[in-house]
């Protein structure tokens, strides 16, 4: 009898522990889920804000161990892409100016002729990571709220965007508490060192959107340089492995000294790289150049020279290079 009593007591105690454990598991899981959800919705709000709001910011951009450069960025937001207008001014050196109007980006510079290309964004301003549907990235990236802080005289929330596979660099984005604009964007390498940084210095509250619109509308724009679709692509290779989430965005040939280099562009929306395969070998077997977030890797393989350029860590770039396979034996020379 005594034994039964103690057994029941023991089991009760156990189940109590069990329930407590269970409670904590669910609780922490739901907290984590909530945090991810918060971070995710914050990032989505940021993407929307950066495209739909009217704003003027001054910012500094800097690669690791390089000099900082200063910019002014004016933006007229819209729901439709073709209605977005923006202007980037280089505040130092030659007075370069880049204007986005009607899905066309025009480059003005004092020392050479200006021109336009069809591009829906001034990529010199915010990096690719800012413009994403973060819901679709949730399988590949983790979004972590790091807390609150202050920058550019404004309150901000810190969100870390980091690949689940840890084969990419990561971003820490500082998002404005009120208008959700990105105020600072740090690109971190594997050791969490900042290798590129964009930092907003101030957000001009007296930005005269009407005056700016007037300026954009009355400007004369240089002719659009058309880039023709190529037909006879050298389609001799493919990648046996890609970092998770990367897709082929474009394939084309680049002409160099009357020989063609077969090129493909890949991107996951946040990072990108090109693979370039040519027949002319380099004198050095392996070459690596790293500059801010950009890695350039050249290697000889078989009778070919492979150059990979992108904002990925060296390890990942080298792994991509190792996974290039020729499509069919007839193609190999």
């Amino acid at each position: 009898m005594n034994f039964l009593y103690s057994l029941i007591k023991f089991m009760l105690k156990q189940s109590n522990n069990f329930f407590i454990t269970l409670f904590f598991i669910f609780f922490s899981a739901s907290v984590m889920a909530e945090e991810t959800h918060d971070a995710l919705s914050l990032l989505n709000k940021m993407t929307k804000a950066v495209q739909t709001r009217d704003y003027q910011i001054h910012f500094i951009a800097q690669d690791k161990d390089q000099y900082a450069t200063t910019f002014e960025y004016n933006h007229l937001g819209a729901d439709k892409k073709e209605n977005i207008n923006a202007q980037l001014l280089y505040l130092e050196g030659p007075a370069k100016e880049i204007i986005l109007h009607n899905n066309t980006t025009s480059y003005f510079q004092p020392d050479s002729p200006s021109f336009s290309i069809s591009s829906s964004r001034i990529t010199e301003a915010f990096p690719d990571v800012i413009y994403n549907d973060f819901n679709s990235l949730a399988n590949i990236y983790d979004f972590i709220l790091l807390g609150k802080t202050r920058t550019a005289n404004r309150g901000a929330q810190l969100v870390k965007v980091i690949a689940k596979d840890k084969d990419r660099y990561s971003y820490v984005i500082w998002i404005d508490d009120e208008n959700f604009l990105p105020l600072r964007i740090d690109l971190l390498d594997e050791d969490n060192d900042i290798i590129n940084q964009l930092k907003v210095v101030d957000l001009d509250k007296e930005f005269d959107a009407k005056k700016f619109k007037n300026y954009i509308d009355n400007r004369t724009y240089p002719i659009l340089l058309s880039i023709e679709k190529q037909n006879n692509l050298l389609d001799a290779w493919r990648l046996a492995w890609l970092p998770k989430g990367f897709k082929e965005i474009a394939a084309y040939n680049v002409n160099f000294y009357s020989s063609d280099i077969a090129t493909k562009l890949f991107s996951d929306g946040v990072f990108s790289f090109t693979v370039n395969v040519s027949l002319e070998q380099a004198s050095q077997l392996n070459q690596i150049i790293q500059q801010g977030g950009r890695t350039i890797f050249s290697t000889n393989m078989g009778n070919k020279n492979i150059i990979i350029i992108g904002n990925l860590p060296q390890v990942t770039i080298e792994k991509i290079a190792q996974n290039i396979v020729e499509k069919s034996p007839e193609n190999s020379r």
């Binding site: 690669d63 480059y107 002729p113 021109f115 340089l225 474009a250 090129t263 150049i289 150059i307």
Partner: protein, 186 residues
């Protein structure tokens, strides 16, 4: 440079001049210093005492000059007014226009390229003098051979050309990468 000064320099070299004034003059005048340097090379060569190891051709100055010439901090050129900015013709000289757009791009492997250009320049120069002189009165070839390993490796001309071409290729592909990123931006 004054002929007079050169004569004094020559006298000083022969040990026939003990005037402190000349020494001071040389120490303040860079062109006299290089002249002094050259005289010594000439004398050693004439006496047949010249050998490669004793002579290190001073290219640090050239490297420094090349770097100084390089447009790291682009000066403000004449600034045209908005209305003057020319609108290009319809010719599709795409790469020419793209050339300097992406400031970052143009700095790719800058240091490497500078070094490369200087090595190539020196070698080219010596190659020429090689053809012209022919007769070994002033045998300057041994030192030429020793000039190459700035990067630590002895290379042949062909190889340097190849390397230059590789850098050109990388430069083009980086520009192309930047262009494609813009064309395919979402």
């Amino acid at each position: 440079m004054q002929i007079e000064q050169k004569q004094q320099l020559s006298l000083l070299m022969d040990g026939e001049l003990t005037d402190q004034h000349v020494v001071e003059m040389v120490s303040h005048d860079e062109s006299l210093q290089s002249c002094w340097h050259r005289y010594h090379i000439a004398r050693d060569a004439m006496r047949g005492e010249l050998h490669g190891s004793s002579l290190t051709l001073d290219i640090t100055k050239q490297v420094a000059m090349a770097i100084a010439d390089d447009d790291l901090y682009p000066q403000l050129t004449e600034q045209p007014s908005q209305s003057e900015i020319s609108i290009p013709k319809a010719e599709n000289l795409f790469w020419i226009r793209m050339k300097d757009i992406m400031a970052k791009v143009s700095q790719i492997g800058l240091a490497a390229c500078v070094t490369l250009a200087i090595i190539a320049g020196v070698q080219y120069h010596q190659g020429q003098s090689d053809d012209v002189s022919g007769a070994p009165t002033l045998n300057t070839i041994p030192m030429g051979v020793n000039v190459a390993p700035v990067g630590g490796i002895q290379q042949h001309n062909d190889q340097q050309l190849l390397e230059k071409r590789q850098y050109d290729k990388i430069r083009l592909l980086v520009q192309d990468y930047e262009l494609q990123k813009r064309l395919n931006a979402r």
